[in-house]
């Protein structure tokens, strides 16, 4: 198929429509506003639902209502707005409701900046709201991958009855690049016989709930959610390793920094430094085994984590996966500053030197 030039946020929105999204509920915030803007025009044209909610809190609860009644529902926002959605995400996960949440991250904390950031990693991968739970977190590093992952996001959500977060940084949302609309294989999905669609002759009522007054029942519910997490961790891990076969330095990065690191690899290799890139695509479940194995490889002397975050957040998972086999160091910029190729090259050389 021919390539088309698309802006990231609009491409994500169009991909959602193609993935069969029935309804979208959102609230404006930079740098993701093109998602609701695009969908406000195009969802009704496809006979689908668009509502601009009064807040992110309302938007995520509209998602709850629609998802609970069997619809493919989606919302999008950026960091401060995603913070407001956390109560809803906790309820959605507790009530086992599938939905897709896009976080087009900006720098924080507080109002932070409207420039790209990656400081919501903890929030996205540790649950984010109250309670023991996880949401699957997909982290595309370019628009093509973001678009390809949207169909998957909805399918994974439906497969596990669990919210899926697409975590990208503001740069992926704001930039334009050529993409092609690929046919993504659809999964075989379970029937939504649990949904509150109205009884329509059913001999029992369906209800959606996350309250358990008996502690043992709530404990059992938690155990069930945990089992589901184990299944997702077993089946849904995705990652990419580039030029890692002979790598002496492995750079770990996701999203935009991973893209910049690809160029850094070429610069390093031209200078005789054997550099590789390890890129988690699912941030939760984290590709722990894959990174552990790679770090254990004889050629690898050091690991350098690069993020758009002040002290690094993914680095905790990197360390847990590397498990002390090799030294792990960090390079990052926060507040909307994007690491350059030169900075990454320097940091990689420094990491190698320190390891030797």
């Amino acid at each position: 198929m021919a390539k088309e030039l698309w802006k990231g946020n609009e491409a994500i929105a169009e991909a959602a429509i193609r993935a069969g999204c029935d309804c979208f509920f959102g609230y404006p915030i930079t740098p993701q506003s093109e998602v609701p803007e695009y969908l406000s025009l195009h969802m009704p044209q496809h006979g689908k639902v668009f509502v601009q909610a009064e807040s992110e809190v309302a938007a995520i609860n509209m998602v709850y209502g629609a998802a609970a009644s069997g619809m493919r529902a989606m919302t999008s926002s950026s960091s401060p707005g995603i913070s407001l959605k956390q109560e809803g995400i906790s309820y959605l996960t507790a009530s086992e409701l599938p939905c897709v949440i896009v976080n087009c991250m900006r720098g924080g904390p507080g109002l932070g900046t409207i420039q790209p950031g990656q400081s919501d990693y903890y929030q996205a991968t540790r649950g984010g709201g109250n309670g023991d739970y996880r949401t699957i977190c997909l982290a595309p590093c370019n628009i093509q991958e973001a678009v390809d992952l949207m169909q998957e996001a909805f399918d994974i959500a439906d497969t596990y009855r669990n919210p899926v977060m697409v975590l990208m940084d503001g740069l992926t949302g704001q930039m334009m690049e050529p993409i092609e609309w690929r046919e993504i294989p659809k999964r075989e999905l379970p029937a939504k016989d649990w949904a509150t669609t109205g009884k329509h002759g059913r001999d029992h009522t369906n209800f959606i709930n996350s309250l358990y007054m008996v502690p043992e029942e709530c404990d059992a519910h938690n155990a069930h959610l945990l089992e589901k997490c184990a299944l997702m961790a077993e089946k849904e891990v995705r990652c990419e390793a580039v030029k890692c076969d002979d790598a002496e330095i492995v750079i770990t990065a996701y999203g935009t920094p991973a893209r910049i690191a690809l160029t850094a690899l070429d610069v390093l290799r031209a200078e005789g430094v054997k550099a590789g890139l390890f890129r988690p695509i699912t941030l939760w479940p984290f590709p722990e085994k894959e990174l552990h194995t790679l770090a254990g490889q004889d050629s690898v002397k050091a690991v350098l984590d690069v993020e758009m975050s002040a002290g690094g957040q993914m680095i905790d998972d990197i360390r847990l996966a590397v498990l002390g086999q090799k030294p792990v160091s960090y390079y990052g910029r926060a507040g909307g500053v994007i690491p350059t190729v030169e900075e990454i090259v320097e940091a990689a050389k420094k990491a190698l030197k320190e390891a030797e």
């Binding site: 309804c23 009064e54 998602v63 709850y64 009644s69 009530s95 509150t196 669609t197 709930n209």
Partner: protein
């Protein structure tokens, strides 16, 4: 033998957990009867709140969702927009609706969302043990205003029906109570009218039911009924507040 009275098919056989004399159970019955009489039980999708009626999903014989505290109108928006031909309702307390969920109910009314809200105004936070609500009367004691609510500390109580009536999207708002048979019949008529207008696609419909919480008011059920009539009705006038 002729049957003169039987439980509505709109209610399940689950035992209600409400305190003796609490009006929640009476209002459940009225909503259930209206849904049954209008033939809507098979189609209806309800949303219950966080508050004493959090377990209403066990009692109504229709599909139900339990919403986060105050968010029922947003949840109902998600349902109704994707199921435009089905009856959708929220059932909410005054802490849930008038305090933490004030934005959600105002904006649902503003958008003219075509669902019905049953609003249980018992002038207190029942479930959490009797704290002050936005609807607690001046002078009324609650655990967070132990000497009685004052204007200086908490302002004047909120009249939600009147507030929502200012929205063009709200086509019907009536305030009722269920302290006696005459008022109970009026309440049922109001609930029916709200659902009829919803099904006719007219807009947002709202029924406020002044209710007792004998437990947290520290009164017998009969005394609570009388207190409601003597104190709540003068501040919260009964009747149709708006009908388009």
């Amino acid at each position: 033998m002729a049957i003169v009275y039987q439980k509505s098919k709109g209610l399940t056989d689950a035992e209600l957990h409400y305190c003796p004399g609490c009006h929640h159970g009476i209002v459940h019955k009225l909503v259930a009867e209206v849904l049954e009489e209008m033939g809507l039980l098979d189609e209806a999708i309800g949303v219950c709140p966080v508050g004493c009626s959090v377990f209403a999903f066990r009692y109504f014989n229709c599909d139900m969702q339990q919403a986060a505290h105050g968010r029922a109108p947003a949840v109902a928006t998600g349902i109704k927009r994707t199921h435009p031909n089905q009856p959708v309702f929220t059932y909410q307390g005054d802490g849930d609706l008038a305090s933490i969920g004030a934005a959600e109910i105002v904006h649902a009314a503003m958008r003219g969302e075509k669902f019905t809200t049953i609003f249980i105004n018992n002038a207190i936070y029942g479930m959490t043990g009797g704290q002050m609500a936005p609807t607690t009367l001046i002078g009324q004691k609650a655990t967070t205003c132990q000497l009685g609510r004052t204007v200086e500390q908490a302002g004047m109580p909120m009249r939600v029906s009147e507030l929502l009536s200012t929205m063009d999207g709200c086509v019907y708002a009536e305030r009722v109570c269920v302290t006696d048979i005459a008022n109970l019949n009026k309440a049922k008529k109001a609930i029916r009218k709200a659902f009829e207008k919803q099904m006719a696609g007219e807009g947002f419909t709202f029924v406020e039911v002044l209710s007792t919480c004998p437990t947290n008011w520290g009164m017998s059920p009969l005394k609570a009924n009388q207190w409601l009539k003597d104190n709540m009705v003068p501040y919260y006038p009964l009747g149709v507040i708006k009908e388009v």
